[in-house]
Symmetry: C2
Subunit: 430 residues, 2 copies
Amino acid sequence: MTRPLSVALAGLGTVGGGVLTMLRTNADLVAARAGRPIAVTAVSARDRGRDRGMPLAGLHWYEDPVALAADPGIDVVVEAMGGAEGPARALVQAALAAGKPVVTANKALLAVHGAELAALAEQKGVALAFEAAVAGGIPVIKALREGLAGNRITAVAGILNGTCNYILTVMRERGREFAEVLAEAQKLGYAEADPSFDIDGIDAAHKLAILAALAFGRPVAFDAVHVEGIRGVSALDIAFANELGYRIKLLGLARRTEAGISARVHPCMVPLASPIARVDGVFNAVVAEGDFVGQVILQGRGAGAGPTASAVVSDLIDLARGRYTPVWGAASGALSNAPSLSIETHAGAYYLRLMVVDRPGVIADVTAVLRDAGVSLESMLQRGRSPGEAVPVVLVTHETGEAAMRTALARLDALDAVLEHPAVIRIEPG
Amino acid sequence: MTRPLSVALAGLGTVGGGVLTMLRTNADLVAARAGRPIAVTAVSARDRGRDRGMPLAGLHWYEDPVALAADPGIDVVVEAMGGAEGPARALVQAALAAGKPVVTANKALLAVHGAELAALAEQKGVALAFEAAVAGGIPVIKALREGLAGNRITAVAGILNGTCNYILTVMRERGREFAEVLAEAQKLGYAEADPSFDIDGIDAAHKLAILAALAFGRPVAFDAVHVEGIRGVSALDIAFANELGYRIKLLGLARRTEAGISARVHPCMVPLASPIARVDGVFNAVVAEGDFVGQVILQGRGAGAGPTASAVVSDLIDLARGRYTPVWGAASGALSNAPSLSIETHAGAYYLRLMVVDRPGVIADVTAVLRDAGVSLESMLQRGRSPGEAVPVVLVTHETGEAAMRTALARLDALDAVLEHPAVIRIEPG
């Protein structure tokens, strides 16, 4: 057995603590799979004095995480601090520049600065590994980058944020509104004190940008992802979705066509029969569609100390074994320069809920607006009667272009009888 | 870009033809992902004259597949002939002995001779890759051997045979009997003319033996797998399963406990709510349970030219990139020698259907037999009445040991009022 792989760990929160625990708990097994022991020898974290419930004696302690990059005794740097800027970015840059491979769980960093970091890694001929950045313990990076590598991937989609999936699941199961369930999730630790990163879809968009880069072999392009979160999803729409045979999920969806690559994160209605509709609670799932393999679905826990550590340690084992893969699956010169498509080019079915005054002629006005905008209806649902009061009207369209839908929405919004902004959810085949 | 990886392809049936097609169709993409072109340069197949619908000009043709191993121009041998013995085994042995890495889709060969072939590969320091041997295009070998490599895997299970899953799915959807659906599947090409390999569970057992070896890090042990097929599953039991909230699936299940490793293939009832219950038709699924990652589920197409080619080509890309993993995930010296547990050590819930004469006292006799054998009942279902004639009685047990169940079954079978051998299906949590 060769000498141990010497690992520096920056950050001892959930991710870093999990990695340290896993490497210690499963040390023998990891050494067998890696062909050599993997040992954390140096760490850096805020507040050295804090009791983290794990012994840190014998580890070289650095106040400044970036200094880990310069330690000649270190083979690999694990960045587990998080954040697209600041010390995380500085450390990853410094480590790569020093010719050290880096393992990170940092999706924000990868999504925002991944192109430039990948170029640096390639220039230095070292690995930048990030299995933990997407879908936690599910080996989806490895699946896309290696396991399905011979396929032309046409689409990749997934439930990429456990917090949103948990909130939507509880809203459905208990028939409750978003704000209440969010508050409860915050109390339970399933949502952050400042939840906007999760619930506004940004975290899912970071992950989708990474998946799209891998699936389609092109540099990561976070700015090209269209993002909508789940704040606007109401208990009423979830109930109507059930009635229509759908589940509402926050999905990330990326697709390659002749015209280019589309990438979007937004609430979707997916048919109950589709596998992704059944992925509930904090679970994540990723669906990839390849020209030879067909559809492959992976699901599991998308977050938490254990699953994230599992992903980081698998990256470390790859490094210990000398298994190398370019950051986006191919050398930079072989990456695609397919253009990004804006959401305006989207076409699909839409769910539309209007709150209208219950009086004669309203439906005729609504359907006239839709007809004039070129929106064709598949079905309509009207529930309850209270003359002169507000009632919901639900419409499901045939395939419609996003532009036509936006025109229609603006006109519907202007109708006297339409009392609130229409609720709109795109329908996906799942 | 370095020189092409030169591949010899033995067998031009579904698998070999698919590989050749994929390497040609996606040549540019494969070269980008592999860092160099991958080119088939030599082939061997029966009947050179046959039109296979793909041009073979320019390829070196060998009558004897084993001769491919000796061709100095060949970097890798792809064995796509199948069969645990004969030319497939001879070729893989010869290639490894000659120091050439081998890629194979041959689960029978791996399951039966995998231990000895792995030893040879290790001795020669070359790869023996077999992503295509289990679950077709789903990258489950890579997931277990690399993606989850830091985990102590406690259980791995799956729907591993598409033919059986297709037959069971059609039986349920159309309420039809096994023999009819099998005959139809044969006509459609979903089942072989001699279907016993699939429907008697042997193919699934080969795959399970491979998964268990990877999951638990031990040499493959096909003989230790308990195997039952689906011939005995009736439309009546499928209907009762539905009524009880279960689906009947042929599962392969391997588990590691303190006592050792159990591996079994048999029809199971799994709760409708479990993800595996929803995997229908020719689809495969694998569930792995790791100590840090929790449960990970992978699903997709388990057979066919495209999915199998996808797996073989991903192995070739690994080889082209120089990514190496020991056959069972660790060097032979680091493998576990955990003992295999026989099916007699199994304990779980059982579904039991008896055809009994509808007359007073029969249920009392049946339940007395179960009580005396130490079998405790969770529920009982009796449907229809026809005094003096045969009626089904369905019993679901609490957790029961296999030995107690066998004792009970022998005694039930001996009762006058029990008219057929009892139908027994193990219930799994899924």
